[in-house]
Symmetry: D2
Subunit: 431 residues, 4 copies
């Protein structure tokens, strides 16, 4: 049993702290899929820094590149001056990711956080179109600064703004109005196409192909194609926020690849730097490259150590398709194991790639299971509008054995929380 009786948080720490409440130990070191706390206890990681550690903790090759760079007095901080590290990262991204996928984007480095990338994309969309409204989707999450928050669904997070969140409109996500038969797209079409809809023609829609905070819910490819067609028809930009679902999490580098669509802009962050260093990026079609010099800026928009680790990670993991084949294999195993639990317990399995959810019929069970998992040595979180989803977000490099171990912890935790399975009657057994 890992959970201590008292808070591990520092006495000066603000009450806003959250994860130190879910995982009440003091962590010290980490490697691969294992976190070690100050007492030497090991924890298996199915959380991966909320998706920021797709290659695991301290991946050796990436870490080596960083230490070498620092040892040689490589320039650390440089705003957006030209540096050797910056150029090398851009070259590597082009060679490993963009060029093989036939994507033609310009690159912008905003402040090194996901929310800053989303803010930059929103500002750019507004400037490029001369319009102010931006469409977000129910249950979406994009960040906590005022712009990003205005397209984030969660009521209590929105409430923290302290001001009304305007210039945005929410639309129903895939499946939000019952079994999908086109009704959510019909409303999107009305919003954009009916001159008396009361929705001023938007600059852009911002969409996650797989919603993370929303409960590891994946939109169908057909729906994504629909969004792309409707936005194109009405001259509205489509921005894919791939901060959590990108960098391989979905089973491809980008989560929109499966639908065969090309967004007008893409935001990346989290796992982009390869080992948890702050870095973010906006990919934009060249015709949208309309910011004036410095019209969006930020002190840490050129954090060279992150360029170094990002380039190293791309070289290490994206030179061939081994990682993606590994992800798809692990995804199948996990879905199968979760499917069995869902069938037994009346839940649902959601998601895609290694961004998977187990939705519980009684919302509170999900959090109880997460706590029970932590007590058994597994770090895992919940998500969803009602926190009803146990969200699996392991490092992509997780081994088959580690994955199996984690899944069996989940199974045991579910049993503890939900009680023993009813023995099936003889009739059922023989049926």
């Amino acid at each position: 049993m890992n959970a201590p009786a008292v808070s591990p948080a520092h006495p000066l720490e603000s009450a806003v702290r959250s994860y130190s409440r879910s995982f009440p130990v003091v962590f010290e070191t980490a490697r691969g899929c294992t976190l070690t706390d100050e007492k030497g206890h090991e924890h298996l990681d199915f959380f991966a820094g909320a998706g920021a550690l797709n290659y695991g903790h301290n991946p050796p090759d990436v870490k080596r590149a960083l230490i070498d760079y620092l040892s040689g007095d490589g320039i650390t901080h440089s705003l957006d001056m030209a540096t050797a590290a910056r150029a090398q990262f851009f070259d590597t991204l082009q060679a490993r990711i963009l060029q093989p996928r036939g994507l033609h984007y310009k690159l912008m480095t905003p402040g090194p956080t996901g929310t800053n990338a989303v803010e930059a994309a929103m500002k750019l969309a507004r400037k490029a179109t001369g319009r102010s409204t931006i469409v977000g989707f129910t249950n979406g999450f994009h960040g906590m600064t005022l712009g990003s928050l205005s397209i984030t669904g969660n009521q209590s997070k929105r409430g923290g703004a302290g001001v009304p969140l305007n210039h945005t409109v929410m639309a129903p996500y895939c499946g939000e109005l019952g079994p999908e038969s086109g009704q959510t797209l019909a409303w999107l079409e009305q919003m954009l196409g009916n001159p008396s809809s009361g929705v001023d023609t938007p600059a852009a829609v911002v969409v996650e192909c797989i919603q993370g905070e929303g409960g590891a819910r994946a939109a169908t490819d057909a729906w994504l194609i629909g969004v792309r067609e409707i936005t194109k028809k009405h001259g509205v930009l489509m921005i894919v926020d791939d901060i959590q679902a990108g960098c391989g999490r979905s089973g491809g580098f980008f989560s929109f690849q499966s639908a065969g669509i090309v967004p007008d802009m893409v935001t990346l962050s989290k796992s982009l730097s390869g080992m948890g260093l702050p870095l973010s990026l906006v990919l934009l079609k060249p015709e949208l490259d309309v910011f004036s010099p410095g019209e969006h800026n930020g002190t840490f928009r050129g954090f060279n150590p992150a360029f170094v680790t990002a380039a190293a990670a791309l070289d290490r993991y994206w030179s061939d398709d081994r990682l993606m084949r590994h992800v798809r294999a692990r995804s199948r195993e996990a879905r199968e194991a979760l499917g069995r639990i869902a069938e037994e317990r009346g839940g649902t399995v959601t998601g895609r790639g290694l961004m998977l959810g187990l939705s519980f019929p009684v919302a509170a069970q999900a959090s109880a299971v997460a706590r029970a998992c932590f007590a058994r040595g597994l770090v895992i979180e919940t998500a969803g509008a009602h926190d009803e989803v146990l969200k699996l977000l392991p490092p992509l490099v997780i081994t088959q054995a580690e994955l199996a171990r984690g899944l069996s912890i989940i199974r045991a935790a579910v049993a503890e929380v939900c009680g023993p399975l009813a023995t099936r009657s003889a009739t059922e057994v023989h049926a």
Copy 2:
């Protein structure tokens, strides 16, 4: 002559890039006050990452602590989980900075950028007071996400928002309405105290004690005391944005110390991490600690390597008063040299500590001088509403000799741009 004929920027780089235009070389390594580009040219640094490198580039003790941490597989990314590195940073800040100054603040780690700290402080002020309006000051700069931008003065930066920036009101900064005789404070008093002012009672005022982007302009202590008294009288919070002027830049750790006031919140970032790693902090009075768990969050709000370097920097530079004595000595030397130029050329010297400005009577001269400086091996920037101020922001650890060298480059650049000084008449000489 360092400036190449062609752009050093990567072909994929967005047009938003700015500093690679001002300093058109590719930088590679850096140490102390010296940047070295890919051709081996050395550049003296009077810019210090826009104030993010107060201790210079790659300060050896700080860098050593970072490499040691990484080598030992210290946990890198942990959101806001409790970690050993986090606790040690909080302890060090308390011991080296807060406790000796009699300050009692809680600490919040928002996303690791300055703008995120400002957004968090604005949200918290609104939540704590239940009001929405926030007061900013003319010529102020606080960041580029929608919340921070709404209290930033610069018109072209504001224009990038693409939406009206609301829920904020601007007030005139110290000296803005001519020689200060209380008229700016009289307006602040009206805004807050007249029930028919049309200014809804604000949650907070956000103020820089020395405006950076605004042109290295320092408010007087009397004015800061006036703002503190008026805000206290009307129950309005006072937030000091010490992102650029903090961490020793003003001649004390905090820029508000000279006025003897205690703000309700303080934002820190830039030089806080000690060597350019993204880190930011909101200091808040304990009674304002009203966020719910996770009500403001962010993926990189617990970037442990930055905690490690920040603690190392505090230990190295803030165990005694040597650094501040050094800063004040260098400040005197710089003011004296700049004063001579100002007297000769009809300009003005502004600022405090090692955040100094030389304001030119013809605005365009400032940029011309900055370019001429770069050609002579000195990295320096301009600021001010009309870019009329040459802004000196050297690392605080700059040696007397380095400072003298930089100042003589400035003097030569001014001569090149503004022409030879008129020979004084015999009468004047004999007077």
Copy 3:
């Protein structure tokens, strides 16, 4: 042919003028359903002041009451001081309308226009609930001041605001997402009930039971009941804007009566004063009576001549059910005649009571038919998102003969615009 070659508008008249473009003559006198222009030409009125003249022009009994009041130096203007005329109007409304229908409302007299009533209701809903968002519906129209305009659908009208229209959300009106099978209500339920919908719990929804500008489109009773149930379930106020569809237009005094629901607030104006004098009213449930004294006011909120005519009209037309039986009989006749045209021309008949629409398959035909009607002596307008609907809004007191004459003018105008009907084949005739 009535249309003159030159504009009848005054040379100083602003370009914003609109109806003097549709009906380019100078009107002078009017009585019942007939307008007479300065040349003595008579025009049959199927427009009724956009619904402000339900009892026709200058109804004799109402006019007599007004002249008597003026002749006796009855107080004309009194803001909201207590007056005898005011009290008598309230008494009459209570006795003739509210009490017989079992409705318990308090009465508020805002500025005497419809838009001011809507603004007052929106403000009151926000104050009573402490929330800011208000839900409007696609194709709705509520007025042209900033508050009302923010829940109005029409893009070009919204564009006139010059500022983004915020604090409101639009929802799809009944039938907006294809044949109604609950999908529009499903989205309303999501908006109000899903805590991650991104729609902050609204203060109120504002709905027209029959949309006027939206094209004389009536919501079904089932849909209205659904809206009432969903709003009640989530503690959201339901405001019926009955400015155009109220005062008998729908076949009952209020348009919501057919659905058997009771809104939390109702706005009335247009025909309320009985002969076109500016007057408006907000009906509100007693528990919502939370404005402070004077918290919403206006110079003309107590225009006593309008109280006098309003009371006279209620006494004259609402002492028995003759007027409503008359309306329902005329409605049947009009629907039948329009139905024949629709069948022949591929259009649709919409609306309820004497608020009826004939929707054309080719939008431009509607305006062409309206112009052709005017040339034949019939004043009639168009409506709808694409101006595709010919809107019939005759005085309720129209005689059977006048109605028949107007309908035959429409039939002739349609024939002129759309061409002769194809002769049906022998096969069809015999079928």
Copy 4:
């Protein structure tokens, strides 16, 4: 003693009622400067419908014109169709007011209330300039719909909005920052001229030359000229809201005439119709006539009876300068009488023409005096940020005797409220 023990308000009347609280009787008839209540008591009127009855109650010639029009079945309600009454009003305004003053304006008839005129002017200013910000002034009042309210100073009125009031900025009115020596204009110049002021270049400033609700405070001509010069210099429109101070109240038809300036737009309402009928008007320079047809509209924007009375009033009172000479003579008498009270009691006399204020050193005295006046048969109100001003707003046609009577009532009421005057010492008497 007129005040009854119980409320005269109707049981259904909303709690928002205000003037029936200040003047708790039921009024029935009115003529000239006298109101008569249902008990036959007469009340002298120093309130004039808050400035809507400059020519007194039921002025005979104006009333006669109205009854004649109604008797002849003149068209009452016509939206903005061309009518004979409309044309005649425009002709009369041009001949009696605009042409003699050399003013060239186009005319727009918005909804018939003052607030609607202000909303229309704000929308038009935003459309014409393509900007969104509008500047209002401290202590100003412009109306209660969302647009007008956003430039109204009073905090409790603003609070009724229920949403933040945005896209506007407040500036200090003449004298607001202490004895005027240019500091308020200096801030206006900064707001409009400093590119880093954080105030986005506004579309317009909206100003009252004499503030009504603000306490009958008149700006100096020099200040008005300054506002006109600064706005012209920066291409910002100047809108004079002359709803309360216009139509002769200031001593000229327009309140801005004394300063010799020409605003870009002027709003009129209140006394425009001549006997309290709802009517309003926007005067706009021809180059600002950029609304599309119907881009601002309203059901009662062509209330013909008000056109008829307005034309009759202009003919009756503005064919020569007798009324204005009368106003200036009465103004002198009133200022003298008030001046004596102010001198004795330590107050201040404010205002211009017959819009005068007596400001009390102890705010609560003003309301107490108003109540004492009402008990003595005088209807009078208070104004000012702290309700510290007794506001005199008699009909302009008040006789010398009536004025004297009212002033002596005020003097007696002051004595009752403030106590007997201290007897002056012998020395003073003999001096």
